[in-house]
């Protein structure tokens, strides 16, 4: 099946006084229709930048300096703003972290919904309103037709995020980029929203790029996961594989840092050091200064994504099996 989204060798740069800083460095991956791809990594690893680049909302002076982004086989990274605008919302949707600030406080929910619907789909305002009601019901908001006339401040946090999801789905996009959709919510609400995203994804056949630093969320929802470090993908593959049999030492460290309820563990595993700053990225493999298994080649040459079992890992030692 042809991938819905294809990202090839994407580079995102920020010009700065000390030369260009690379926030996303030669990232390639694909998303199949209806698939949920998780993108996990620490803050600053480049996950949000990748998402922003795909939907064309990179904040200047950041810009795409290399690579291609293809949606349904067509390049979208070089489109003029007018064309890009038509794709946004209609083909690719996005939801952001904070539901409180994602909604305009001065407009009613219903108006915001119908506005989005009418921008992309041809229908009468009455039909648009009916559709808005259905959307609210789908995301699980009771008394939807009354709630249409409410303002954002009249909804609780979890409900607001549901509204945000409804807005993102309003024009039936094929792909949704969800940037930390649950981070600002209570833990109990998080589970509901995750479940909602998953269910809606399957029902509408919408693919999701789920960007988060929370491995637990990924484990619950995603089909595949890409692990990002210092602007690069260091490992990518089916979720179950990555969790049980991580190949890249960074991923090993990540999994080891998660407490395992089934075993008695004296100390949580910690990865020494910290992710490098954008202006101080090491040569070769970006992780090599912190890697317990680094060899000379790691410092000299940047590894590509090599096949390792059913996933790919950017490590010269990926062929060997590593136990958690």
């Amino acid at each position: 099946m042809d991938p819905l989204l294809q990202v090839r060798h994407l580079r995102v740069e920020f010009p700065s006084r000390r030369g260009a800083l690379t926030a996303v460095d030669d990232v390639s991956f694909g998303i199949a229709p209806g698939e949920i791809l998780g993108m996990v990594g620490e803050s600053g690893a480049g996950k949000s930048m990748t998402g922003a680049a795909i939907i064309g909302l990179l904040e200047p002076p950041g810009r795409i300096s290399g690579g291609e982004i293809l949606l349904e086989g067509r390049r979208i990274d070089d489109l003029p703003q007018g064309e890009l605008r038509k794709i946004r919302g209609r083909k690719i949707g996005a939801i952001f972290q904070d539901p409180l600030t994602s909604l305009n406080p001065l407009y009613r929910i219903g108006d915001q919904l119908t506005e989005t619907i009418l921008t992309h789909l041809e229908m009468s305002p009455v039909a648009a309103r009916a559709r808005a009601v259905r959307l609210l019901e789908e995301v699980g908001i009771p008394a939807a037709s009354e709630r249409l006339d409410h303002y954002p401040h009249q909804f609780s946090g979890g409900m607001r995020q549901r509204v945000v999801i409804a807005l993102a789905l309003a024009a039936e996009p094929r792909l949704i980029i969800a940037d930390e959709p649950t981070t600002a919510l209570d833990v109990s609400i998080q589970a509901q929203i995750i479940g909602l995203l998953k269910r809606l994804g399957h029902q509408h056949g919408t693919a999701v790029l789920l960007i988060t630093h929370d491995m637990g969320v990924i484990a619950e929802t995603s089909d595949r996961v890409a692990v990002m470090y210092a602007g690069r993908i260091v490992e990518i593959g089916p979720v179950a594989d990555i969790i049980k049999r991580p190949r890249h030492p960074y991923t090993v460290g990540l999994m080891g840092a998660i407490p395992d309820m089934s075993r008695k563990v004296e100390r949580l595993v910690q990865i020494e050091g910290a992710m490098p700053r954008l202006d101080a990225i090491p040569s070769g493999c970006a992780f090599h200064p912190r890697c317990p298994r680094a060899i000379a080649r790691c410092r000299a040459e940047r590894p590509e994504l090599l096949a390792a079992g059913s996933s790919h890992a950017a490590c010269w030692l990926a062929g060997e099996v590593v136990h958690v």
């Binding site: 952001f96 994602s102 305009n104 406080p105 989005t116 921008t119 009249q154 993102a168 024009a171």
Partner: protein, 328 residues
Amino acid sequence: MIAFIIRRLIQSVFVMLAVGFIAFAMFNYVGDPIAIMVGQDTPVEQRVQLRQALGLDDPAPVRFLRFVGNAAEGKFGLSYRTTEPVANMIAARLPATLELSLVAALMALLLGIPMGVFAGLYPQHWLSRIMLTVSLVGVSLPTFLIGILLILVFSVLLGWLPSFGRGDVVRLGWWTTGLLTVSGWKAILMPAFTLGLFQMTLIMRLVRSEMLEVLRTDYIKFARARGLTNRAVYFGHALKNTLVPVITITGVQLGSIIAFAIITETVFSWPGMGLLFVQSVLFADVPVMSAYLVLIGFFFVVINLLVDLLYFVVDPRLRAQDTTGRGI
């Protein structure tokens, strides 16, 4: 909502009473009205009689109530300088000041808001930079200086516009208006611009900075992510959110335009209340001063009240505080 209105009305009454009290204190305790009104050689008995006739020997609270009562009816006593009833003097000049203030306020809004929106949408544009420079001038130079400069250019050098007076005015009952004649408009143009310039630059800078901030918010980002048209994003969402805080600040400023008219009226010899007030200060004509104070206080209170109500209407979040509607 009703509770809010009632609360604000009560507040307003208190403020008016406070202002009235200060005016009363001025009126009654500053200087000796008798000494000023009558000549030097008036015998003592006559002065005592006059005092009693005017009720100046009554206890203070009685006099305060009388003052308030009179003020409510619009009676402010007699001017020390001209011995005319103060109320008449003010009434004759009120239309001039109000018209000037209104035109100035309109100018400030009609020029300031679009300029601010433009400068907010295109901050790097050369026009935006020019606007910022001009606005700096408007904010730092004294009003009277700007007025004089305008006179120098448009009256002395070019001879296009008159530098004093209201032009031909039309009487409509108690009101006189200069807005129905060409010469009236020519006369009001420079004073109104001078008076409104400060507010105009304030509004422009305010709208611009609000716009810049709003454009950085998440909901604008989300609106773009939903593929809304530029028009919808900028003039639907961004503009509305920009204008809400601008309303309150502008409203309060508009109140002070009426007071700032003092300066402009002096520069352009505009026959309004402000000029009257300056003359009354020069001659220590306390009744006029205190009447002016009360009137200005009244205008401020009314304008503040209207602005609060307007804010209430415009921002739905404020309305919710009064109802019990809560999110689920």
